[in-house]
């Protein structure tokens, strides 16, 4: 059996002949944007929330990231966040809303609070729920009708997906991170390459990653169409969870730990599809187009679309036009206007530490505006405790307050039309960061390098100059 099979089978309430399975859901996260219609659906049917203690709420998508102590300026956003507060009070759901010390992006707070645990089924009305798979959980995004079903019954009707294994072996080069691994994979198999699949990531390169880096990988599983991605839990996982506010304690910890240690794919288990990747082949990556599959190494040239079937070339051309980029040219050296370091992909403390370590003693380019948006109040507090805020300030980077921010062009944080933004988020769709905004997805390190130089930069060259500097002194 695969890891996925083991968790799936433990959660089946019953199976419908020639139909889906009734899957029991352990943990349900909700936020202000995709839950209001689910609550009004309950109300219409006169239903209570079946298991309120298994749903956890936060406000993240539609919140400002400056002056969070003030009322939200825009009326509809204010009402939507107020609606969440009202619904949680009415139905007895724990809410880590604005002002709470646990507030933050839903996929950042679940893990950091120890709510996300191996072997669970986890859903949320958000496609990046796949993030939680990093703990060896079946975690996937759902629509609002399904949010209503989980609120009402703690179950969903789900057809079992096909399974893919992506094996990444070897050592990553300097300047190459988890974000580059996943952008490399998506560029290889396309934005639709894993549709219909759940993906398990294995291999020495995956095993060597921290939990936060594993979350970055699982987070973007959806960007190749996969329902979710997961990684078998190991000592790194257990170490991360231990002592978190909602982690099991005492005898319960020992019992859970014994169960978690059984969560792995049995040797010689067949997958529907397998993909092998050599970590040493992965370079710092960046996207040039309008879906996450349109990625190349930072040192690469923008393709001309001839690698695609003829009927897809018009869409390819349209993407380059939207981006204002030329086929056959280098992406390196492309001028940029904004850098956004944040989102459920890359806004955890390790991301902020990595950026701070790189920019210490450097300053942003005068042409670039740089936003650092921590993933949660806890990340923000930790960054300040470590003095990272001072590093960002002297580099001219603006440290904002937690939220989804400029990842999705919904709240106040938007990239203006026509402007280029190197972003550590997960989607480069047209208008994703604001109407007409042009997004280049990259790792925190590549984003930080671009912030300093003002152009798309191979961060490895900057290490080289730093190293040479050390040698001379």
């Amino acid at each position: 059996m695969t890891l996925f099979d083991k968790i799936w089978e433990k959660h089946i309430v019953r199976e419908i002949p020639e139909g889906p399975a009734v899957l029991y859901i352990d943990r349900h996260f909700i936020h202000e944007v995709t839950s209001p219609q689910a609550f009004s659906g309950l109300e219409k049917r006169g239903l209570p929330v079946f298991r309120p203690s298994q749903t956890i709420a936060t406000a993240d998508h539609n919140v400002p990231t400056l002056n969070q102590h003030l009322p939200i300026k825009e009326e509809m956003s204010r009402l939507q966040v107020a609606q969440l507060v009202e619904n949680c009070q009415k139905y007895g759901i724990d809410l880590y809303g604005l002002g709470h010390r646990f507030q933050g992006i839903v996929h950042v707070i679940g893990p950091e609070l120890g709510i996300t645990q191996p072997g669970q089924t986890i859903v949320c009305g958000d496609s990046h729920t796949s993030t939680h798979g990093a703990f060896g959980a079946i975690a996937f995004g759902i629509g609002t009708s399904e949010v209503e079903m989980v609120l009402a019954t703690q179950c969903l009707l789900q057809s079992k997906p096909k399974q893919m294994r992506i094996h990444v072996d070897g050592e990553l080069g300097r300047g190459v991170s988890a974000k580059d691994i996943i952008l490399h994979i998506i560029a290889q198999i396309s934005a639709a390459g894993a549709t219909g699949y759940f993906v398990e990531y294995t291999g020495s390169a995956i095993r060597s990653l921290s939990m936060e880096a594993r979350m970055t990988i699982c987070n973007m599983s959806i960007e190749m169409g996969a329902r979710g991605g997961l990684i078998a839990p190991d000592e790194t996982t257990f170490e991360y969870i231990k002592g978190k506010p909602f982690a099991p304690q005492g005898a319960d910890w020992d019992k859970k730990l014994a169960d978690w240690k059984l969560l792995f794919s049995d040797p010689y288990t067949d997958f529907d599809h397998e993909l092998y990747i050599n970590a040493a082949d992965i370079e710092p990556m960046i996207t040039y187009g309008t879906n996450p599959g349109m990625g190349i190494p930072v040192v690469g040239k923008i393709p001309n679309g001839q690698h695609l079937p003829e009927n897809e070339r018009a869409s390819f051309q349209k993407a380059l036009e939207y981006m204002g980029l030329q086929a056959g040219t280098n992406i390196q050296g492309q001028q940029i206007d904004y850098v956004f370091i944040g989102s459920c992909t890359n806004a955890r403390i390790e991301d902020l530490r990595e950026v701070a370590a790189f920019v210490r003693g450097k300053h942003k380019s005068p042409n670039v505006e740089v936003w650092i948006v921590p993933g949660s109040k806890q990340v923000e507090a930790q960054a300040i405790a470590e003095g990272l805020d001072k590093v960002f300030e002297s580099a001219g980077f603006q440290l904002r307050q937690p939220g989804c921010s400029a990842c999705l062009g919904m709240n106040e944080d938007k990239i203006p039309a026509g402007k280029y933004c190197v972003s550590t988020s997960n989607r480069n769709f047209e208008g994703r960061q604001g109407m007409g905004a042009r997004t280049l997805l990259a790792s925190p390190l590549t984003a930080a390098a671009a912030a300093v130089t003002g152009v798309v930069t191979d961060v490895r060259e900057m290490f080289l100059s730093v190293d040479e500097g050390y040698e001379k002194s």
Binding site: G41, C155, L157, F429
Partner: protein, 194 residues
């Protein structure tokens, strides 16, 4: 929302693009509403209008061409990828579509569509291309979709499409998943006790 789908024949709107993501179907800035209604007017908002201005329709975008009308949207592969926002299905349905034809759909979108009685009809690449060309060349081309027999017919050519038997029964009879789940509450409670 009209419940129950059986068979229907209609003209179609051809949207010749692959990887149409849900941010295009309904941009995030329109997700602030707390009801399910009224999303149709913002369907494909930034492809339809210049600078987001309703007074400035973009010429050449298919929803702005009066020749193309109908209850079926024909689109390139990987339709509905990206965000899980069900607002995308609500917007398509509210605008007046009852089905989307593509060579494949993103998983979450497909579930959201089915939960809103918007039928995702998955056809082969070849059939999709023929359908797209037929509709583009002659906007009066009729698309006949028969859910009971799981067939789609365009310009004399037919193809079978897949849908699981449970979902088909739901769509034909107007049942939804929540009705079913509520009917097995006892089983769920028993499962919880282990």
């Amino acid at each position: 929302m009209s419940k129950k789908i059986k068979s229907f024949s209609t003209t179609a709107v051809p949207l010749d693009a692959e990887n149409v993501d849900t941010d295009q179907i309904i941009p995030a800035r329109f997700l602030k509403a707390t009801s399910r209604e009224g999303f149709g007017k913002n369907l494909f908002r930034d492809w339809r209008f210049q600078d987001g201005d309703e007074a400035k329709p973009k010429p050449g975008f298919v929803l702005n061409e009066p020749a193309f009308q109908g209850k079926v949207l024909v689109a390139g592969k990987n339709f509905g990828c990206g965000s899980s926002r069900e607002h995308a299905a609500w917007a398509l349905k509210d605008y007046g579509f009852d089905a989307v034809v593509s060579s494949f759909f993103a998983d979450i979108f497909k579930n959201n569509a089915l939960n809103n009685f918007l039928l995702p009809v998955q056809v082969s690449d070849g059939f999709l291309q023929k359908t797209m060309s037929a509709v583009q060349e002659n906007p009066a081309t009729k698309i006949a979709i028969d859910l009971e027999n799981q067939t789609i017919t365009v310009a004399g050519a037919s193809e079978h499409f897949d849908i699981n038997a449970y979902k088909k029964t739901c769509l034909l009879n107007g049942y939804d998943d929540l009705d079913y789940l509520l009917s097995i509450r006892e089983d769920i409670e028993k499962f919880e006790k282990g």
